[in-house]
Amino acid sequence: MKTNKQNINLRELFRQNLEFAEVIPDAAVKLKLMRRVARKEFMRFNPARLNIYYLGGILITGITTAVILFSGSKNFDRLNPLSIPGKINQSDTSSYIEILTEQPISVKHDNSDVIHKESIRSKSTIRIPDKLKGEVSKTSQSDDNSPHFPTVISNSFSKNNLFIKVTPVTKKLQSEFKTNAVLIDPSSSAGCAPLKVHFHNNSDSYDSCRWTFGDGGYSNQKDPEWIFDVEGEYKVVLEVYNHDGEYLSSTASVTVHPRPQVRFEVAPEKAVLPTDEIRFMNYSTNAVQFKWDFGDGSTSESFEPSHTYKKFSKYNVRLLVFSDWGCSDSLTLFNAFSGSEYSIDFPNAFIPNTQGPSGGYYSSKSDEAAQVFHPSSIGVSEYQLKIFSKLGIPIFESNDINLGWDGYNNGQLCEPGVYIWKVRGKFRNGEPFIKMGDVTLLKN
């Protein structure tokens, strides 16, 4: 039965064999499923079977709703109907990457035709959004004739994040108010999402100002800070008002680049170190550049590298990816090859069969009577068990995990009492283990 495997179309092979393949599920699956259905059925609202639980549920819900509505309507009365819901900014404190950005920023004024260029070197810490850190406070104005700034948003952030300065300059406002037209070309600034931008209002004197950030957020602080969470181009508008209600506006644009997303897997999933060649499967998106750190001092910049480790140890594998725009993301797989599911444990007593030596091979039947001393283990590949008497004389030795001690030495049943055991070996992933302890031989 020799086949030319190259001629087999893999797609056909799998489709024809597996598309309508049937596998018999365990009988327990049906039981579990029907139990879950029964539970769901009980929780399902069914007017035909309205019972005391539902009645209770409806009563509680009704009361709660009534209470909420009652207290809620009271609160709403006090709120200014003009208030605009402010956008809450996000910042994060979990994983972070440090990058250095050099951001050239140019600001151009129509009036002066001067282009300012400044370069701001900033050490930045980019955090992935996780917790809300913003506070929103609301104030409202009672005077309906003046411009409305109903929402004041103050954001308090944990330390200094990505920091780019945009400076739409509206100096000498008072004189410019007369000329009535000050348009400022958008000063370009860009960065990676989430991008924290500090805006500076250079106006000399004014009564009030209002920022709109282009993503639905507002502020009327003088120098607000804003975080753009989502990629895109934003038009930031600053309006400055004097006491007569006249105003001046200037705009700046902020470009927020998308952040790449790093994802990878290690194959084979149960690797044996150092024997196996480890392949790294890369599922990152939006990324063009890759930096692997295998945790043993070696690195790679290829898309899906392979690597062989020299010895078994705890390795943290880290992948750092960069997008076209230099935005980065990283993921560290801590202790990537740990055999956390591997174990070996010994009982502390057993009762040998007095009928004669059993040879040490154990079964579930001999385990019921605890006749053979042996470990319960998962994932053991190499194994050596030694048993000593209290005087340190070796009594028993086994290199086979399936062979335990039946309590006999040279065909003679050993005396009841305490014996010392020592085990050494390796788990399937190459991790070594050594354990010691004592076991009590009991008399039946």
Binding site: F14, V23, M34
Partner: protein, 187 residues
Amino acid sequence: MMSDQQIIELCAKHDRKAQQVLYDRYSRLLLGVCLRYATDKAEAEDILQDSFLKIFYSINDFTGSGSFIGWLRKIAVNTALTHYHKNLKYRYHIDIEEYVSVETGVTSFEENFFNADELYKVLNELPAGYRMVFNLYAVEGYKHKEIAEMLGIDTNTSKSQYSRAKAVIRDKLEKLGKLKSSYSENN
């Protein structure tokens, strides 16, 4: 013997008997689908349970146009994808046992060298991401564009993962083939 139509109508009324009949009739086929997307049989059975819960509680969504089996399969595949997304990055692989599987006899591949059990084993051992793409493209017959949307990846990523998955599978099959032919020679 109830027809599918009768079962669907009764299931829509949450008839417990009809649900059991539905399970008995299609669980083997759907587990066959789920197993292709899982690392082992236990995981496949979890997916199967979730699939049937979805089937029971959204049977009203089945419009009657198109085949009922096709609809069931689609739900199983979607549930498997949900599981994959949930377990991404944190999956551990467990050795697979021997499956009891029934060939439906619809096809007999000329070069019937590998049986369904072996092909399942090969799929189960694939890295999860490759397994998803390979199943969706090769067996389910989705287009790369659709797969990209389902998995939230780029179309090109789907294509390249498919070709890499093929390479890994071919590698595994070749090893398995050598093992098998040496085994049959010895006997």
